[in-house]
C-alpha cells in the first residue's frame, strides 16, 4: 500500500520560529467554535447591556447617581451606564481565556503542542499574544461604538468623548476586558482544569471583593483598591473616587496582576510534567 518514499512537501527550512508559533496559535484560536462563540457573546452582552443601562438612565425620572439595577454599574452616570456591560462581559471573556488553555489539558492537546515546541514557553506566550491581540482588535471598536450609542440614547444627559478622562476610560475598558481574558488564560494554564480555573476567576473577580468589604474598615480600605476588578475600575472611570486608586496606579496594579499570574503559569509550565 502506501509508503512515504515519494518526495514530500516539507520545506527545507522547517523549524520553529517565534512568528510561526504565533501563527500556529492563531490557527488553533480560529478553528475552535467555542472561541468564536465566547468572543461574540462578550461583544453582544457588552453592547446590549450598555445600551440598556443608558436607556434606563435616560428615563427622565431617574437622576444621575441613582443606584443601578442588579448586575449593572456601581452607580449610574452617563459613562458608567454606557460601559456597564463590563461586569458580565468580563466573565465571558475570562471563560474564553480559560477554555483556550485549560481546554488543551482537558483534551490532551497540550501533549501535541508541547512535543512540537519542547521549549514550552513560546506556546503559552504566543497563545496569550493571540488572545490579547484578537480581543483588543474586536473590543476597541465594540467599546467605542457602545459608548457612542449609549450617549446618543442619553441625549442631553450624555457626555462627549472629548471630555476630561472619557477617552482614557473608554480605551481602558477595552484593555481591561482583554486583560481579564489573559487572566483567565493564565489561571487555566496554572490550574489545568476548566472548572477549577472558572471557579477561581469568579472568586477573584466577584467573591473576594465582597468578602474584603466585610472585613474591618481599616483592612478593607487597604486591600480593596488593589484587587484586579477595583484596580480596573480605577482606570475605567473618570477618577476622583476616594475608594479607588488613581487611574495610573490602577493600571499599574492591574498589569502587575497579569504579569504575576502569567509568570506563575510559565513557571509551572516549564517545571511540571505535561
Amino acid at each position: 500500500m502506501t509508503t512515504t518514499t515519494a518526495p514530500t512537501a516539507v520545506p527545507t527550512g522547517a523549524r520553529i520560529t517565534g512568528p510561526r508559533v504565533v501563527r500556529a496559535e492563531w490557527i488553533k484560536f480560529r478553528s475552535l467554535r467555542s472561541s468564536l462563540i465566547m468572543l461574540a457573546a462578550t461583544v453582544v452582552v457588552f453592547d446590549a447591556l450598555g445600551l440598556g443601562f443608558s436607556a434606563f438612565l435616560a428615563d427622565a425620572t431617574i437622576e444621575p447617581g441613582t443606584p443601578a439595577p442588579p448586575g449593572g454599574p456601581s452607580s449610574l452616570d452617563p459613562l458608567g451606564a454606557s460601559l456597564g456591560g463590563v461586569n458580565l462581559a468580563q466573565l465571558l471573556i475570562a471563560t474564553l481565556g480559560v477554555l483556550l488553555t485549560a481546554g488543551e489539558y482537558a483534551t490532551g492537546m497540550i501533549r501535541t503542542s508541547l512535543a512540537a515546541v519542547p521549549r514550552r514557553w513560546p506556546v503559552l506566550t504566543a497563545k496569550i499574544a493571540v488572545l490579547a491581540g484578537v480581543s483588543l482588535a474586536v473590543l476597541l471598536p465594540t467599546v467605542l461604538l457602545t459608548f457612542l450609542g449609549g450617549q446618543a440614547v442619553l441625549g442631553d444627559k450624555g457626555i462627549a468623548l472629548g471630555d476630561d478622562g472619557v477617552l482614557r476610560a473608554v480605551l481602558g475598558t477595552a484593555v481591561y476586558l482583554a486583560g481579564i481574558g489573559v487572566l483567565g488564560a493564565a489561571l487555566g494554564s496554572l490550574l489545568r482544569t476548566t472548572a477549577g480555573a472558572l471557579t477561581s476567576v469568579v472568586a477573584l473577580l466577584l467573591v473576594v471583593p465582597g468578602v474584603v468589604s466585610l472585613l474591618p474598615e481599616s483592612w478593607s480600605e487597604a486591600i480593596s483598591p488593589y484587587l484586579p476588578s477595583n484596580a480596573g475600575q480605577a482606570f475605567m472611570s473618570l477618577g476622583g473616587d476616594p475608594n479607588l486608586l488613581s487611574p495610573q496606579a490602577g493600571a499599574a496594579v492591574f498589569v502587575g496582576w497579569l504579569l504575576a499570574l502569567v509568570g506563575a503559569a510559565l513557571i509551572r509550565l516549564l517545571r511540571r510534567d505535561a
Binding site: V10, A14, I27, G103
Partner: protein, 306 residues
C-alpha cells in the same frame, strides 16, 4: 537514533522506569515490548521531553529533544493517550501543528492522504472512531517527515485492514533508513513487524535482542512422552542437560533431548510408548515467562524491603 542511559522515572513511591539503558538504531523496526504498566508510555513521554526523568538521560539524534530547533523533523510521535482537541477538525489540527515549523497545507494534505483520512479531514476530531483517531495521530507523527518515528501501541483500535496497513508502513519507514520505535504489549504483533526487541517489565530492561535471537532462545523444544512405564523411562532419560517434568501419572515433559533419541532409547530398553510429541514453545509463551519472572522478582524485593 534514540539513546537512553540509566533513564529512570519515579512517581511518589513507585519507580515507573528503572535505570533503562538502550539504543534504538536506524534502518530497522524496534519493538518496545512489555505488559501494561511496564513503563513503556512513560519512557516515550520522557523521550519527547513531556515528562522529566528523575534520573539518567535520553537523547534523540544526538541531542536532548528540547535542544532541537526542528523537533518535528527529528521525531514524530503517536502517544497512547489522545492528544487532539476534540473540537477541532483533523485538517486544522495538522495545520496548527505544522505551522510551528512553517510546514504548510501541501504537506498536511499529503499526510491526510497517506493515512486515508481525506473524506473526514474537515470533521471534528471528537467524532472520530478509535481507529480514525489513531490514523490522525500517525498523520501528525509523519507530518515533519521525521528521521525517527515513535508510535505507542499504534494498532490499538485498528481493524485488520488498518493493522496490515500499519505493518507495511513501519517496514517502509525502516527501509528508508529511519529509526522506527513501536511499543506493544502483544508479542504476536511484534513478531510480525519488529526486527529488534527491547523488552521491559516493571520499568526494568529484560532483553535487548534481535527478533531472530529471541525466537531461537524461545523455541526450546519440549517432548511429551506418555508411557505406562514412566518411572523407568524417567531414569533412562535423565542426564545433565535434560529436564523432565511430569504433570500426571504416565506423562513426562522432556526438554533437552530430541524426539528421535527418546524413541530409540525407549525401544532399546523395551519400554512401551503411547505418545511421543514434539511441541515448540510459542514466542508469546516465552514473552510471558520472561515478564512473569520480572513481576515476581519485583514483588519479592518489594516485600523484602518492607
Amino acid at each position: 537514533m534514540i539513546e537512553a542511559r540509566d533513564l529512570s522515572k519515579r512517581y511518589g513511591d513507585r519507580l515507573a522506569v528503572d535505570s533503562l539503558t538502550f539504543t534504538v538504531a536506524p534502518g530497522v523496526v524496534t519493538g518496545f515490548l512489555g505488559p501494561n504498566g511496564a513503563g513503556k508510555s512513560t519512557t516515550m513521554r520522557m523521550i519527547l521531553g513531556l515528562d522529566a526523568p528523575t534520573g539518567g538521560t535520553v537523547r534523540v539524534n544526538g541531542r536532548r529533544y528540547a535542544e532541537h530547533r526542528d523537533p518535528l523533523r527529528q521525531i514524530g510521535a503517536l502517544l497512547e493517550a489522545k492528544a487532539v482537541h476534540t473540537g477541532r477538525s483533523a485538517r486544522d489540527h495538522l495545520l496548527a501543528l505544522g505551522a510551528t515549523h512553517g510546514i504548510g497545507r501541501r504537506r498536511v494534505d499529503e499526510v491526510i492522504d497517506l493515512v486515508g483520512l481525506r473524506e473526514v479531514a474537515g470533521k471534528r476530531a471528537g467524532g472520530f472512531s478509535l481507529g480514525m483517531g489513531q490514523r490522525l495521530g500517525i498523520a501528525a507523527a509523519l507530518l515533519g517527515d521525521p528521521a525517527v518515528v515513535m508510535l505507542d501501541e499504534p494498532v490499538n483500535g485498528l481493524d485488520p485492514d488498518g493493522i496490515r496497513w500499519i505493518r507495511g508502513l513501519l517496514r517502509g519507514l525502516a527501509a528508508e533508513g529511519r529509526t522506527v520505535f513501536v511499543s506493544s504489549h502483544l508479542m504476536s504483533e511484534m513478531a510480525q513487524t519488529a526486527d529488534h526487541l527491547i523488552v521491559v517489565g516493571r520499568g526494568r530492561l529484560l532483553a535487548d535482542v534481535s527478533l531472530a535471537e529471541f525466537t531461537r532462545q524461545a523455541s526450546r523444544t519440549t517432548v511429551r512422552v506418555r508411557s505406562p512405564q514412566a518411572a523407568a523411562l524417567r531414569d533412562l532419560l535423565a542426564g545433565p542437560d535434560v529436564t523432565i517434568t511430569g504433570g500426571e501419572p504416565g506423562l513426562l515433559e522432556v526438554s533437552g533431548l530430541r524426539r528421535e533419541v527418546i524413541g530409540d532409547r525407549a525401544a532399546a530398553a523395551g519400554l512401551t510408548l503411547h505418545e511421543l510429541t514434539a511441541t515448540e514453545a510459542s514466542l508469546e509463551e516465552a514473552f510471558m515467562t520472561m515478564t512473569r519472572d520480572a513481576v515476581e522478582y519485583a514483588g519479592a524485593t518489594a516485600g523484602e524491603t518492607r
